[in-house]
């Protein structure tokens, strides 16, 4: 999905107020930051790891535990479902 298609979907699905707020937010960004964000949005379909590619490794702390989890530690043992997101 190209950036233009993504923007069209936003316009179609967001309320007028949410869309206006997004435009105000991106319009007020420092040019460098705005460019980085737009590049990220444009590249996320083409550069995100593809099916069949090695999944990038990570080593992250677990909430409410001193344990850290390394994705590659599951290799050869179990598939892993990753759910990326935030509360907001």
């Amino acid at each position: 999905m190209g950036l233009d298609t993504f923007m069209e979907l936003l316009r179609k699905h967001l309320s007028g107020r949410d869309f206006s707020r997004m435009m105000a937010f991106t319009g007020a960004m420092e040019p460098e930051r705005r460019a980085a964000m737009m590049q990220f949005l444009a590249e996320r379909e083409t550069l995100a790891p593809e099916v069949g590619a090695d999944a990038p490794d990570f080593h992250l702390p677990r909430l409410d535990s001193a344990e850290r989890v390394r994705l590659s530690s599951f290799r050869g043992r179990k598939p892993v479902a990753l759910i990326f997101g935030s509360y907001t």
Binding site: L14, S15, A55, V80, A81, I83, F84, G85
Partner: protein
């Protein structure tokens, strides 16, 4: 979309948890109050500024986990957003990584590509194929 589909994702973990490991990877806020606020957050009282420290991010992740009654363990991305950037995850995204360490399913970019039902089908297909392979050996 993550918040709206958390119940479905919990169902998937109940159904497949013995065969598939599940993790929430908690990344930067998609719609914090100091960036692009959205009406649904105001309606539901989910109002947080973009965290500046890992402790702040962990605090919001904790509130999220409690509010959504998540049993799926949560991992916290670092403040350089390293994992988010490697997986091009912002605002939300789903993946299935196979036993061989390769990407078996890559969901579309969020919010529109974040579809728990698609992940469900991908898990079913992956496990069916693994079973068929095991029988063939």
């Amino acid at each position: 979309m993550f918040r709206a589909q958390a119940g479905h994702l919990e169902e998937l973990r109940r159904r497949f948890g013995s065969e598939v490991e599940f993790f929430v990877v908690y990344i930067r806020e998609a719609h914090p109050t100091d960036e692009w606020q959205v009406e649904s957050n105001e309606r539901e009282g989910v109002m947080f500024a973009q965290p500046k420290t890992l402790e702040e991010r962990s605090g919001i992740a904790q509130a999220c986990s409690l509010d959504l009654k998540l049993s799926i363990p949560t991992l916290i991305d670092d403040m350089e957003n390293s994992t988010d950037l490697k997986f091009y995850a912002l605002p939300d995204r789903l993946y299935l990584v196979g036993r061989d360490g390769r990407v078996a399913y890559r969901g579309g970019p969020g919010p529109f590509g974040f579809v728990a039902a698609e992940l469900e089908r991908a898990i079913e297909e992956y496990l069916d194929a693994a079973k068929a392979e095991s029988v063939a050996k």
